[in-house]
């Protein structure tokens, strides 16, 4: 017996949410959203919402986990109980532990860990709402939180998935497309350096399709990368603008005082 799959793409080539095949979901990024963490970032990609916080480099506890030649990067990817339709147990699942490792390995190449021996950098990622592509949004958010914490980086890491639904190769799959589609290829990279730090595949693709998916995901990453840089600059540009505006008012006030 074969399950009847719902149509994911209409006759005009539009997806369920009205996107074209090579279009990203609406992206919203904020940096420095948490006062108590050393660095933080918030990423919304469509209905996927992810919060990342970074602490460190700091003393390693327990002590024996420290390495004599470099810092340890510790990642925790966690989904909030309310992030999915059916309440998820807050205990870390097998999937979350695996994703924590995968995200850590996607971020490590961007850092100069050997500069800070016997210390730890902690990254906490909280998925507030899940609608597909959470590991990619997590990497995007975590790399911004690292930059916000003032931790030196080779480049920002941007991540995005590509895949195949109803026989069409598409960018940035949402949850339904991921579940009912044929394949999903998450990819993370340092776009400025042209280095890929994460590449996974779930499902079936021919070698040429895989190559096309990778090219598609790289294009997606580049768009996300531009948005990341914009978000990092935003706060400082805003303060500069505020000061300049206040300065514009100054002569009048100064004149009043004199």
């Amino acid at each position: 017996m074969e399950l009847k799959k719902p149509p994911l793409i209409d006759d005009e080539g539009r997806r369920l949410d009205g996107r074209g095949p090579a279009e990203l979901r609406p992206l919203h990024i904020e940096v420095d959203v948490l006062a108590n963490a050393d660095g933080s970032a918030y990423v919304e990609q469509g209905n996927t919402k992810v919060l990342a916080a970074v602490y460190g480099p700091k003393e390693v506890h327990p002590r024996h986990l420290g390495l004599p030649d470099r810092a340890v990067l510790r990642c925790r990817y966690h989904m909030a109980p309310f992030s999915v339709k059916q309440r998820k147990s807050p205990a870390p699942s097998r999937r979350e532990i695996e994703l924590s490792k995968v995200i850590r390995e996607a971020l490590e190449p961007a850092l100069f860990l050997q500069h800070y021996p016997r210390t730890a950098i902690d990254v906490f990622i909280e998925v507030l709402q899940a609608d597909g592509g959470t590991r990619c949004a997590s990497i995007t958010a975590a790399s911004l939180a690292l930059a916000d914490a003032g931790i030196p980086m080779r480049d920002l890491v941007a991540a995005c998935a590509a895949g195949k639904i109803n026989g069409v190769l598409v960018l940035d799959l949402c949850d339904i497309e991921d579940k009912h589609g044929e394949a999903d290829v998450p990819l993370a990279m340092m776009p400025g350096l042209g280095r890929i730090t994460l590449l996974q595949m779930d499902g079936m693709l021919t070698p040429t399709e895989l190559k096309e998916c990778i090219m598609l995901a790289i294009e997606g990453c580049k768009q996300i990368y531009a948005a990341q840089k914009e978000a990092l600059r935003e706060r400082f540009v805003r303060i500069r603008k505020e000061v300049e505006e206040a300065e514009g008012l100054e002569p009048a006030e100064g004149g009043g005082e004199a």
């Binding site: 480099p57 016997r118 080779r154």
Partner: protein, 231 residues
């Protein structure tokens, strides 16, 4: 030899700053002949040295730095001090008391205990070991009064200003005593609470607006205006 940014432009990690035969300054690194930024900050070029003045950073100890930290633990012959660096700093009893310490006769907690704040100097640090502190110089020791303000360590130079211009202006205008720890911890001691409020506000403004030109004038203006209103 190509530059991709102008002086004081805002850059972020991964931005390609320059290509060619430049010297490497702070917060940059090189692949081949390409030079990239590693932190969010302002692009800087001095002679042929490319660097980034960081806007976010953490404190990395340097021998000779005066720092302000909190005692967090008492060991056998030493204290552990949190100076907001990647590692806890160690203050040995000899370096604090200036004479040999006899663990059988004296109690360390009589001199300093957990929760005390101290002004200390970094004696040694080589990033494979914990930083060592010393108190054996005038002006160093336990903090008994005042208020602590914390700023990003990379903004300490802005708070001091060129040749100390900012800090002397702050002292002059508010009449307060200020001790700046290179780790971004600032101790202010004022006679009047209004002066303290004003000074803390000024320090916070410096941290927030350090990347916009004309900082010293703006702060002086703010203080004068506030004092004018108070009178």
């Amino acid at each position: 030899m190509t530059l991709f940014f102008n002086k004081r432009d805002l850059v972020v990690p991964g931005d390609l700053l320059a290509e060619g035969d430049y010297e490497l300054g702070e917060n940059v690194y090189r692949i081949g002949d390409k030079i990239y930024a590693t932190r969010v900050g302002l692009f800087e070029l001095k002679d042929s040295k490319v660097s980034v003045i960081a806007l976010n950073s953490f404190y990395v100890p340097k021998p000779g730095d005066v720092v302000i930290g909190d005692v967090v633990d008492i060991g056998v012959g030493s204290w552990a001090v949190d100076i907001r660096a990647p590692r806890l700093a160690i203050l040995r009893a000899v370096d604090a008391l200036g004479k040999p310490f006899r663990p059988d006769k004296q109690e360390l907690s009589r001199f300093l205990t957990v929760g005390d704040t101290i002004i200390a100097k970094v004696k040694a640090y080589d990033r494979t070991r914990s930083p060592l502190l010393t108190l054996s110089e005038p002006g160093l020791g336990k903090v008994t009064s005042g208020r602590i303000v914390r700023i990003t360590p990379s903004k300490v130079p802005r708070l001091i200003g060129r040749k100390g211009s900012m800090i002397s202006m702050l002292k002059r205008e508010t009449g307060c005593k200020i001790v700046i720890g290179m780790n971004g911890v600032v101790l202010v001691r004022c006679k009047r609470p209004e002066d303290e409020e004003l000074l803390v506000e000024a320090i916070e403004k410096i941290e927030r607006e350090s990347h916009v030109e004309g900082l010293t004038d703006r702060i002086a203006m703010m203080i004068r205006r506030r004092k004018g209103l108070g009178a």
